[in-house]
């Protein structure tokens, strides 16, 4: 096995980068969490950057194991709707609707 050397500090994320990513992911982070994530993510990205050791020019990206082909379904309606069961596990509902704080448009 080839050893993977985890070089530290090659990919430096700061708290601002973290805040941007956290917002995209809708994760609320405290100040100390941001600092911690900045360090951890930097280390993970350093690990990840070791991919660069491999030349991949012209290689076809592989999104799935090759044998996996997309199967289609026929245009048939299945009787599997049950609003009561669907809404039973929802945090907040009213009159058959899911309820969330008002979304300003």
């Amino acid at each position: 096995m080839r050893r993977i050397n985890v070089a530290i500090g090659l990919t430096a994320l700061d708290a601002k980068d973290i805040e941007k990513v956290a917002h995209l992911a809708r994760l609320g982070l405290s100040g100390p969490e941001r600092e911690a994530y900045a360090q951890e993510l930097s280390r993970i990205l350093d690990l990840v950057s070791q991919m660069n050791a491999v030349a991949t020019d012209g290689v076809e990206p592989m999104t799935h194991p090759d044998a996996a082909g997309l199967r289609l379904r026929s245009d048939a309606v299945a009787d599997e709707i049950d609003r009561e069961r669907l809404l039973a596990v929802a945090p907040q509902t009213r009159d058959g609707l899911y309820l969330v704080p008002r979304v300003i448009e």
Binding site: H64, R71, A78, L97, L99
Partner: protein, 477 residues
């Protein structure tokens, strides 16, 4: 300065399937909230999308109809963003590799024909609906629409006026209905349009900054929204200002566009190939099958109707505005066995007017093609006059029975009997010696007076052709 308008349109056509694009839920419109959504639509943990084969067929049919490349390999991607009516936190849509690319549509405007490029058409799912009215400070989420199949059709920025934009939309609207892939119902949102509008000084090659107009749900509003936006941009630029690239909402009540609250936080949708859906691969055999099943397209039908029935370009155009109307016309022609132009006159005239008045579609016309054909036969064989036929049609429309029944019940049968008409004509001539003298002294326009009098005396039932013929004979000195 002279300004040129540049318009590109993005149309979302809801595909006419029974079930949703990735689930087996029904797609019916107007059901009670959340009664058309299952665990897949509501994105429960562990559920997976399975692509509806019919949407693929429909997209391929569209692609072939616009002369586009239908890719044998296309890819579904995830567009990631958070919104409460987007259950998975991403929308499945084709992004880098759409199923259809590089097609075109020929539109006709008063200025003539023009080809509009279609950049691409791709498959995607619709989101649910957020309801804000009467919710006491909450937003209600209805997922009935979530997962409804859409074909997003993106045009090139090839249109140069609102008129062209509307012509393009109408042509496209006709086409998708011909292809039977979309019901075209704009009120229900089955055919929605966003417009990218910009202006530039004439002669400038570079496009101006564009605004994207959303929420335009009728042909009329498309024209108005674009016109407003063009005026706004020209005024802005003329005053030394700049157009901002932004999304604007068209408000039909106030007939203006306005900037959507600039959440100009740059959206980063993080598109990537959906790992639940390997690439969609189509075989040549499948495409050949779609091609074979292709219905006659509007253009071809228009040309054929013109040639086959000797119709004017205008009539052929009107009659092929929808597949159903063309079908009605051809059914009526076949059933009547009369001059196809007479049929065309009636379908585009009386019938169209009546449908319009009652707000009906050709498919729910109160006088169906065989019934109209029955009436037209009676016109052709002289049983009723053209004028009386209009009354017969009205009665038929009101449900008083078929043409023969109405003619009999109302005594509208035309008098074609020479002797009877001659009798009336003699009486009319006798009653009008002064006009007779005028006619015989060469004032030939008095002839129409005698026609009118004769028709009046016969209460409209006299066969006008016979009246003419007999009058000419008896008035002659």
């Amino acid at each position: 300065m002279e300004w040129e308008t540049v318009i590109g349109l993005e149309v979302h056509a809801q595909l006419k399937t029974r079930s949703k694009i990735f689930s087996a839920s029904p797609t019916a419109y107007g059901a009670a909230p959340n009664t058309q959504a299952n665990v897949v639509d509501a994105a429960f943990p562990g559920v997976l999308p399975v692509l509806n084969g019919e949407v693929v067929r429909m997209a391929a049919r569209f692609g072939l109809a616009i002369g586009a490349t239908v890719h044998t390999r296309s890819v579904f991607a995830r567009k990631n963003y958070f919104y409460p009516d987007l259950p998975k936190g991403y929308q499945i849509s084709q992004y880098e590799h759409p199923i259809v690319e590089r097609g075109r549509l020929v539109i006709t405007t008063p200025a003539g024909e023009k080809t509009i490029g279609i950049t691409r058409a791709h498959l995607e799912e619709d989101a649910g609906k957020s309801l804000h009215e009467d919710m006491d400070g909450f937003t209600g989420i209805d997922l009935n629409r979530a997962g409804t199949p859409l074909l997003e059709i993106v045009s090139e920025p090839d249109m140069r006026s609102a008129t062209e934009a509307v012509a393009y939309l109408k042509t496209l609207h006709t086409l998708v209905r011909y292809l039977d892939i979309c019901d075209g119902n704009m009120q229900e949102g089955s055919f929605r349009c966003d417009a990218n509008v910009s202006v530039r000084p004439f002669g400038q090659a570079r496009f101006g900054t564009r605004a994207e107009l959303k929420n335009i749900n009728s042909f009329r509003f498309v024209e108005r929204a674009i016109d407003y936006e063009v005026r706004r941009q020209i005024a802005l630029l003329s005053a030394g200002g700049q157009v901002r690239q932004e999304t604007r909402l068209y408000d039909s009540a106030r007939d203006e566009t306005r900037s959507m609250r600039s959440k100009e936080e740059a959206n980063d949708y993080r598109y990537f190939p959906d790992p639940d859906l390997p690439a969609l691969v189509l075989t040549e055999a499948f495409l050949a099958e779609v091609k074979d099943a292709m219905p006659e397209l509007p253009d071809a039908k228009r040309r054929r109707l013109g040639a086959e029935y000797g119709l004017s370009a205008y009539d052929a155009g009107v009659l092929t505005a929808s597949r159903e109307l063309a079908q009605y016309y051809e059914d009526a022609v076949a059933a009547a066995g009369v001059d196809p132009k007479l049929v065309a006159n009636w379908v585009t005239g009386e019938l169209a007017a009546r449908l319009n008045e009652d707000g009906l579609d050709i498919t729910n016309s109160r006088v169906m093609a065989p019934a109209l054909a029955g009436l037209l036969r009676r016109i052709a064989d002289g049983t009723v006059s053209g004028k009386a036929a209009k009354d017969v049609f009205e009665a038929m429309w009101a449900g008083e029975g078929d043409a023969d029944a109405v003619i009999a019940a109302r005594g509208l049968r035309q008098i074609s009997d020479d002797f009877a008409i001659e009798e009336v004509v003699r009486q009319v001539i006798a009653a009008n010696p002064k006009q007779l003298a005028q006619y015989r002294s060469g004032e030939e326009k008095v002839f129409t007076f005698f026609v009118g009098q004769t028709m009046k005396a016969s209460r409209g039932k006299a066969n006008p052709a016979k009246v003419n013929e007999i009058l000419k004979r008896l008035l002659a000195p």
